[in-house]
């Protein structure tokens, strides 16, 4: 098996990942360190204590990793926001008076969340750290898209033909492609035998779908299949589940 033969390890990817991790770690520690150096609260009391510093660093970390998502589905968003909410809920609970009263030695951080998270400079530090972790990634990706675009990037860059948008007005059609009782169905496709060449791809991510080979047929164009009414063929996309957000385009890759 290829994985066992270590064929897929890319030193370049590993190095990029390691570099990003090192950078994030340094930012996540040293920005709070410098922001808390010899600082006090706005009423003069202590804020650069061990517990507040720990809380600040871990909150920075949470925000930094929550923002770095590559795509946001409804489920994803709920869970990420939910985990942030849970983090604050658990933190405030663990650092509350009640929990401390029950078991003093187990909850020594009592009062820390209340006393440090109401300081503006703490939140400004968190904001700075999270943005600082995210911006290099965005910059790098944008420059890569401009300088060495992949086929995906080219697909996203070309605007969708307007006729397609007018046609696909499904509200919530996540039905299977089989329920086409009101349309002409797949008859011409089946008879032409084209379905055998194209594998069905059911993942939906983003707005585009790119064909695997350069010899992809264009479902939006005129197919050579049988069209009984003589009208332009309906742009049903066979053998791929149609959702309202998927649009098909033919992309040709100039480089082999």
């Amino acid at each position: 098996v290829d994985c066992q033969l270590n064929l897929y390890f890319s030193k370049k990817s590993f190095f990029k990942c390691a570099l990003h991790s090192c950078y994030s770690s340094l930012v996540l520690f040293f920005i709070p360190y410098a922001a808390m150096y010899d600082t006090v609260r706005d009423d003069g009391k202590d804020i650069a204590d061990y517990q507040s510093f720990a809380l600040l660093t871990q909150t920075c970390l949470l925000f930094a990793v929550s923002i770095q998502m590559s795509y946001w589905t409804a489920v994803n968003t709920i869970f990420v926001l939910g985990s942030l909410v849970m983090y604050f809920a658990v933190t405030f609970t663990m650092y509350s008076n009640g929990m401390f009263t029950i078991l003093p030695s187990a909850f020594p951080f009592i009062g820390t969340a209340r006393n440090s998270l109401n300081q503006p400079n703490v939140w400004l530090t968190i904001f700075l750290t999270s943005i600082l972790c995210v911006l290099p990634v965005i910059t790098n990706r944008f420059l890569m898209i401009q300088l060495c675009p992949t086929i995906n990037d080219k697909a996203k860059a070309t605007p969708a033909p307007p006729t397609q948008r007018a046609r696909i007005r499904r509200t919530s059609s996540r039905r299977s492609g089989y329920a086409f009782s009101h349309a002409q169905g797949y008859g011409d496709l089946v008879t032409s035998g084209r379905f055998l060449r194209r594998p069905a791809l059911t993942r939906s991510s983003g707005f585009t779908h790119v064909g695997r080979t350069t010899t992809s047929f264009s479902p939006m164009g005129r197919s050579a299949g049988y069209s009984p009414t003589g009208r332009p063929q309906n742009n049903k996309v066979p053998n791929v589940e149609v959702t309202s957000l998927q649009m098909y385009r033919t992309i040709t890759d100039s480089a082999p």
Binding site: I31, V40, G44, L135
Partner: protein, 340 residues
């Protein structure tokens, strides 16, 4: 794809959720979004940075090192002697009013309160007033849990044992007259520390709770005599004790000692003039090259004086604007070849 009958009962439903076909939003990094975005972020950061920097610059702060390493330092004699309660004085002059409320801090350098074994060396139950832990302190306090004659130490542990014990008084000399500046020691620790985390045992008089225990080795007085004149500041809820027990994260730190009482001549802060700080030099730091300082400072909405945050925001904001210009150039250069 050929139509297939659903043969097995375990086949998942053909819904978007189960087949992982949910609509997803993916941030597409097009030039029209990224470049203006960076400019906006850059400008916002620059704005915040300017506000922070200006605020930080407006905070007045005075710092004096009184460790006594150099022979010209006022406390050098105390630093070299081993006599307890050695007294020395530090003079300074204020040219302008130090705006109130003024806070008086003591600072230590090269002092690692964040050391793991040090930080674990305390007994939260004891400090919560649980008398059963007075007779048998937690083992995390060792070797500061029992003294040489096997009597329990209260409060046990290394943090309590190393409590800072220098004291300071401040006087203001004007027109030949020396006025005492009153220092307020109330409410210098966190409200939650004073009211919830640390409690005295429910015994009156407090002294009786400590029967059969001994004070920490380095302390001059036992816990129930930390402030005999004020029962609300005595025992474990003594404000100086609480401030010390809230251990610092970094090796160079400051802890609040007192507040300048804003009354009488000092309503607006510390007026200009000559001041003298009388120090009772007890705390030994020379053994580990530590440094002791006193700091007078006022505060603002962003806390004490710390220019880092302002400068960081300014730098990152400028970098964002520069990067957006760079990206615009890259985009413009590479856009035109594609359009041909």
């Amino acid at each position: 794809m050929v139509k297939q009958e659903s043969e097995s009962a375990n086949r998942p439903d053909n819904t978007a959720f189960t087949q992982q076909r949910l609509p997803a939003w993916q941030p597409i990094l097009s030039a029209g979004i990224v470049i203006p975005g960076f400019v906006l972020i850059g400008l916002a950061f620059i704005g915040i940075g300017v506000a922070l920097f200006v605020t930080s610059k407006s905070i007045q702060e005075l710092e004096f090192d009184y460790t006594g390493y150099s022979n010209e330092s006022p406390c050098s004699s105390c630093a070299q002697s081993v006599v307890a309660n050695c007294k020395c004085s530090l003079n300074f002059t204020l040219t302008t009013l130090l705006q109130g409320p003024v806070f008086f801090y003591y600072g230590l350098s090269n002092y690692f309160q964040n050391y793991r074994r040090y930080g674990a060396s305390k007994d939260d139950n004891q400090l919560y007033g649980d008398l059963s832990y007075f007779t048998s302190p937690s083992s995390s306090c060792s070797p500061y849990d029992y003294d040489s004659s096997k009597k329990p130490i209260v409060p046990c542990g290394s943090i309590a044992n190393s409590m800072f014990n220098d004291t300071f008084t401040l006087t203001w000399t004007v027109n030949g007259k020396t006025n005492n500046v009153s220092l307020d020691g109330k409410g210098i620790a966190w409200w939650t520390d004073y009211n919830v985390k640390y409690r005295n045992p429910n015994v009156t008089p407090l002294k009786n709770a400590f029967n059969g225990t001994v004070k920490p080795i380095n302390w001059a007085k036992p816990a129930y005599e930390l402030d005999a004149s004020d029962p609300s500041n005595n025992g474990f809820v003594n404000q100086d004790f609480l401030v010390w027990m809230r251990r610092a994260a970094l090796p160079n730190f400051r802890k609040l000692y007192r507040r300048i009482d804003a009354s009488g001549d000092y309503k607006n802060g510390l007026p200009a003039g000559n001041y003298t700080v009388d120090i009772t030099y007890n705390y030994p730091v020379r053994a580990f090259n530590g440094v002791k300082k006193i700091v007078f400072s006022n505060v603002s909405w962003m806390g004490g004086r710390n220019e880092f945050l302002g400068i960081a925001y300014l730098v990152i904001g400028s970098l964002c604007v520069v990067m957006s210009v760079v990206m615009l150039i890259v985009y413009a250069k590479f856009k035109f070849p594609d359009e041909e």
